[in-house]
């Protein structure tokens, strides 16, 4: 096919996912709201991503692809949690560590957190990816499986809503 073909191997999985691990963990912390869930989902995401890694055609696109897996896992978890409320047997044993270091957060931040948690789920995902993880709209669109315009709209509506509600407080 070529006179002198060169061998271009995709990077090993750990190396490919490495630069995004922190961002993904942060995203999951925001979406699940507690550390145990975030850690569990992170592991699940790694397993799924590793298994599907050979089918990822373009490793350059791995970031939105990982987010797509993360988004799906978070959605599933949110749905499961909504379906069956957790049975709290022992409140001390089941105490879930909050996702954030509350010591540093002021009351304002707590209020914003509550407002964000009340956003429609898709808007919250788009907003978190845009503002926390710093993904571009095209990548958000890939991760959410929607159009770029849709991603843009979700983020801007979320921001609009947040600002309006914040001003009302």
């Amino acid at each position: 096919m070529m006179a002198n073909p060169s061998l271009i191997l995709p990077p090993p999985f750990e190396q490919a996912i490495g630069p995004y691990e922190r961002d993904l963990m942060r995203f999951m912390l925001r979406m699940t709201g507690n550390r145990d869930d975030a850690m569990e989902l992170f592991q699940e995401m790694c397993l799924r991503a590793y298994r599907a890694y050979p089918r990822l055609a373009d490793v350059g696109e791995i970031r939105p692809w990982l987010y797509r897996i993360a988004v799906n896992l978070c959605r599933n978890r949110a749905r499961d949690n909504a379906r069956r409320a957790r049975v709290i047997v022992d409140s001390s044993a089941n105490h879930r560590e909050p996702a954030v270091d509350d010591s540093s957060g002021s009351q304002d931040l707590g209020a914003i957190r509550a407002l964000i948690a009340a956003l429609p789920y898709k808007q919250r995902e788009a907003l978190t990816m845009r503002k926390i993880s710093g993904l571009g709209y095209e990548q958000i669109a890939q991760a959410l499986g929607c159009s770029v315009e849709g991603a843009r709209a979700n983020v801007s509506q979320a921001l609009k809503k947040l600002k309006a509600e914040w001003n009302q407080l």
Binding site: L7, P10, M25, R26, M39, Q43, P54, D108, L109, W166
Partner: protein
């Protein structure tokens, strides 16, 4: 505090410090490792080597040679994609060079040069696997027809399917799909191009000329009775095609430990 200011602050502030994140990641990885063990793919050494046929993509796994791919007709990326489904590729030019060296020596006439064990992990189908496994029973210096190979694996009408299986052979040269020819005596197609097939067969003692036919003095030998006949011998035609091998000449059949038929006197 203005809304803009505090929202921006919220987003710019890393809610969770990097240290906490790293700690969480460490914990997650620790718990992950035992589970990853179950699904981790084995590693395969991959490299490109050069042969008289042009560049070859070579992959060697823990159980033997996985892939030899003719890069003058097929793409590197396609081979890597197939390999990655079952193995994690690691670049290793040294291993590729070993394979390349064996192939070069083989083509120079050293018939025991192909030292690597073939690992058929990358073969997709059960039928194809059976065909390739049976093909390994055809020794160097002998060939079979597509029809005969089909009969050997218990599907006597599946010569076309056998052809497809040979075309999909992930390890040409080592799994000798060049040793399968058409029943009319023409050598037929080859994944790396007919020229490769001619050269491989020549290296194994078949004098193939421009007509692309197997030599006129080829004889067929029976695997069980160890008797070889002319191709037009009545006894040979009655025999089970699944058991027939074709040799380049009476001499090579004798070398393979067979005796001449007493009806057709092939010598």
């Amino acid at each position: 505090m203005s809304s803009r200011h505090s929202l921006e602050q919220y987003f710019s502030d890393a809610d969770v410090s990097d240290e906490t994140l790293d700690q969480l990641l460490r914990q997650a990885r620790q718990k992950l490792e035992p589970n990853m063990r179950f699904i981790r793919r084995r590693e395969a050494a991959v490299g490109i080597t050069h042969s008289p046929f042009g560049p070859l993509l070579v992959a060697v796994g823990p159980n033997g040679l996985l892939m030899v791919r003719y890069l003058h007709v097929q793409s590197t990326s396609g081979g890597i994609a197939i390999l990655r489904l079952k193995f994690d590729p690691v670049e290793d030019e040294r291993v590729a060079e070993q394979v390349g060296d064996q192939i070069r020596r083989f083509l120079a006439g050293q018939h025991d040069a192909l030292g690597y064990r073939a690992d058929l992990s990358l073969v997709a189908g059960e039928f194809q696997r059976r065909a390739l496994e049976q093909l390994a029973e055809v020794p160097c210096g002998a060939i079979v027809t597509y029809h005969a190979l089909a009969a050997t694996i218990g599907a006597p009408n599946a010569q076309r399917a056998v052809g497809s299986a040979m075309a999909a052979n992930p390890i040409p040269i080592y799994v000798p799909c060049h040793r399968v020819v058409r029943s009319d005596g023409v050598i037929g197609h080859y994944g790396g191009g007919t020229r490769c097939k001619v050269e491989l067969l020549r290296a194994e003692g078949f004098a193939i000329d421009k007509s692309l036919k197997i030599p006129a003095d080829a004889v067929c030998g029976h695997r069980q009775t160890r008797i070889f006949c002319r191709t037009d011998c009545a006894a040979a035609r009655r025999a089970d095609p699944a058991r027939m091998l074709i040799f380049a000449s009476p001499r090579s059949a004798l070398e393979a430990g067979m005796r001449a038929c007493k009806l057709c006197h092939p010598t």
